[in-house]
């Protein structure tokens, strides 16, 4: 599954799995720009090179107040 088609893939899963994944990345020494325990609805952007994760960046979820102007 580490093929090139996942280089620009969006994956949606559960907080429990994301927490474990982020901890494993941290243990492997991947630079994390974000907390180990992210908020519900948050996103991690993983930078990859040759199918290998080189960095991970956290994007907080947009809250109701953030979206107030759009609804």
């Amino acid at each position: 599954m580490a093929g090139p088609t996942l280089q620009t893939a969006a994956l949606c899963t559960h907080g429990e799995l994301i927490g474990q994944l982020v901890r494993q990345l941290a243990a492997d020494g991947v630079p994390l720009e974000g907390p180990l325990d992210g908020d519900k609805g948050s996103t991690w952007v993983l930078d990859t090179a040759d199918g290998v994760v080189t960095a991970a960046r956290y994007l907080a979820p947009l809250r109701l107040t953030d979206l107030a102007g759009h609804y």
């Binding site: 996942l6 994956l11 949606c12 609805g41 990859t48 199918g51 080189t54």
Partner: protein, 242 residues
Amino acid sequence: MVKRPITTTEDQRTTFIELFFDLVFVYAVTQTVSLVHEELSWAGVGHALVVFWLVWWAWTQFTWALNSADTTHPAVEAVMLAATAVAFLMAVTVPDAFGDAGGWFAATYIAVRVVGLGVYGRVAWDDVAKRTAVRRFAVLSVGGLAAVAADGLAGGDAREPLSFPGRLEAHGLLGRLRDYPITRMLTSPALRCQQTVIPLSQRRAVPIELAEDLSVEAPAASMRRWWPARRCKLRRYVPTAS
């Protein structure tokens, strides 16, 4: 007029209703194969064995009970037909007993077992030793049936819809990920996860792919293997305003 007893000590021929009842249980057992067919792994084999054991146990309970019952008694025939109908519904849900139909399997299975316990208790009522044995069996069964019910309800987690704030955050992803190219979209089969990516899928015209590796039951290692990590220096996280 003498009331016809519901029990008998005479040898009995197998009735057509009993054969029909057995046939439905044969169907339920054949259905367990689909659990392995759907998931060809040790987990799939384990699921099939658990369901097979439950189905076999329910059938066995009826055979014990009917040994003492007069199987030509109209009340016994009526109960057997009702149990057969519920057992058929149970058998239909077997292939998805560990998925979305978990609640239905648990409900119909418990109904079959409760009817079976009722018959067993009724035919053993006049014999003190048998009554005590059935009571002990019923108490033990309650534990097993509670486990089936709990598992059936737990299976419902996959059907939990996305909350209202979650739906708004799902639309928020359109802005959050605006600058990122997305050519594939994979999600846990859980309904709330699918609903999270629907707005993004529609905006980007990228189909949604369901991936069991992303389900809440999957070990993180199954997702982790998608991206092996390079060992490098850890940087401290500094929160920034979003």
